[in-house]
């Protein structure tokens, strides 16, 4: 039977926790184990922060988004369902939703153009493990799949996913009918799906 005292008092050392899979750690997080949470945080904070910064394009806002997302994960660990994907996907989904909320709430006006310039203190993430090398391969495949799309398709996907714009806002910005925007999103995603399925180690 689970003993909250034992769990919270670190019966498992941090080193032991670091060999556990995310899904096992989430069971401990659900029971209030802060050490397990710390391992989850360290594994996914870079991806979370990178996504939030790309979306928010403001360091302080991105930090707020990541903080809210991880605290929400800590407080609602019970809602993680392993049948619906990896912990990383789930975490990044929370970050994405929070960033969209933040962007729409604050109506950041310059968000329409996605660009990499102008953000200070960019520190590339370290690469440490085989898992991260595999992720780098995956990242390259995804970037290539995005770049190979016709510009009109990659643009609507970027404006929607990374800039947090609704399809109505995109239609206005591009002076294009809403139905066309939706169609480009769909075609673009389908093509990316094809490219990723063909690639070795494709994302699922």
């Amino acid at each position: 039977m689970f003993n909250p005292l034992r769990a919270a008092h670190g019966e498992r050392s941090a080193a032991h926790l670091r060999v556990l899979a995310d899904e096992e750690l989430m069971q401990l997080v659900y029971r209030g184990n802060a050490d397990a949470f710390e391992v989850i945080y360290d594994r996914h904070c870079e991806a979370a922060f990178s996504l939030a910064l790309r979306m928010c394009r403001q360091r302080s806002l991105a930090e707020d988004v990541v903080q809210e997302a991880f605290l929400s994960l800590w407080r609602s660990g019970a809602r993680y369902d392993r049948n619906r994907g990896s912990v990383r996907t789930w975490t990044l989904g929370i970050v994405h939703n929070r960033a969209i909320d933040a962007l729409r709430r604050k109506a950041v006006r310059d968000r329409g153009i996605v660009e990499d310039e102008g953000i200070e203190e960019r520190v590339p993430a370290r690469e440490r493990t085989e898992v991260e090398f595999a992720r780098r391969d995956e990242a390259r495949e995804i970037r290539e799949a995005l770049q190979q799309l016709p510009a009109e398709q990659s643009r609507v996907i970027e404006l929607a996913y990374f800039a947090g714009m609704t399809h109505h806002e995109i239609a206005d910005a591009l002076d294009t009918p809403v139905g066309t925007v939706k169609g480009r999103m769909r075609l673009g995603l389908q093509k990316m799906r094809g490219a990723l399925t063909d690639a070795p180690g494709a994302a699922t």
Binding site: F37, Q67, M165, K182, M185, R186, Q190, A203
Partner: protein, 238 residues
């Protein structure tokens, strides 16, 4: 596609904007309702969702700020310590505080830094006036600052923090009172600074019924919705 819900006109169109997060809130809700009825849209969502899930990897990966890590983990450790204290209280009221492994006491977890934990004292509860007649209880709080002390006085369902020798909050910061019942600590509108000699008497907003702990953190002026730093005062109500 299948058109099982003729009144809904996004069928076959909304899966892509849905997985990209590009529907408005109203459209999102309508599409979720539609998904329950439409197998072909469900299938398309499943297919396209896998691609959307992969999109974050396209972003150049950057190191997350260390200060952000400190903020998140200090909040989590605070909440874990409070949960532990709650769990311990259920069956073995004081053992959790008194018998934890060195360095693993809840307040050690809360305090985080050596400087803060050096001044940590274990909570002691003074019961004044006996259980039946006296309805005033004093709880001595754990305080991070050396030489500072704080007592939570609960009387007639109302709580008051009496604080002495507390350092002034940093420029641009105020102290904020948090109240914990079940779940995460909840913010209050009790924001305060201390007098020149470090004293303050602060009423805890609301009824104390069901409150398991009262905490104080230093927050930016105007207060915060979630703690951004480790607590400087924790009064646990045993």
């Amino acid at each position: 596609m299948s058109g099982e819900l003729p009144s809904y006109d996004g069928c076959g169109e909304d899966a892509a904007p849905y997985v990209l997060g590009a529907l408005t809130e109203t459209e999102h809700e309508a599409f979720l309702a539609h998904l329950r009825e439409c197998a072909s849209c469900r299938e398309e969502v499943a297919t396209l969702q896998a691609v959307a899930n992969a999109l974050p990897a396209a972003v150049p990966q950057l190191a997350a700020p260390a200060a952000l890590r400190d903020r998140v983990l200090s909040t989590v450790r605070t909440e874990a310590a409070l949960r532990t204290a709650d769990a311990a209280r259920g069956t073995e009221p004081r053992r959790a505080l008194l018998r934890g492994r060195p360095g693993r006491l809840p307040w050690r977890l809360v305090a985080g830094s050596a400087a803060a934990s050096a001044a940590a004292v274990l909570a002691a509860v003074l019961l004044l006036g006996g259980g039946s007649t006296g309805s005033t209880r004093l709880y001595s709080a754990k305080v991070s600052a050396p030489a500072a002390s704080a007592t939570l006085r609960v009387s007639g369902g109302r709580g008051t923090l009496q604080i002495a020798h507390m350092p002034r909050s940093a420029p641009g910061k105020v102290y904020e009172v948090w109240v914990k019942r079940a779940g995460a600590p909840q913010p209050t509108d009790a924001l305060f600074t201390v007098s020149a000699d470090g004293a303050a008497t602060v009423a805890v907003p609301g009824d104390m019924k069901g409150v398991t702990a009262v905490m104080v953190t230093a927050e930016p002026e105007g207060g915060s919705r979630v703690p951004t730093s480790a607590p400087v005062i924790v009064a646990s109500l045993a």
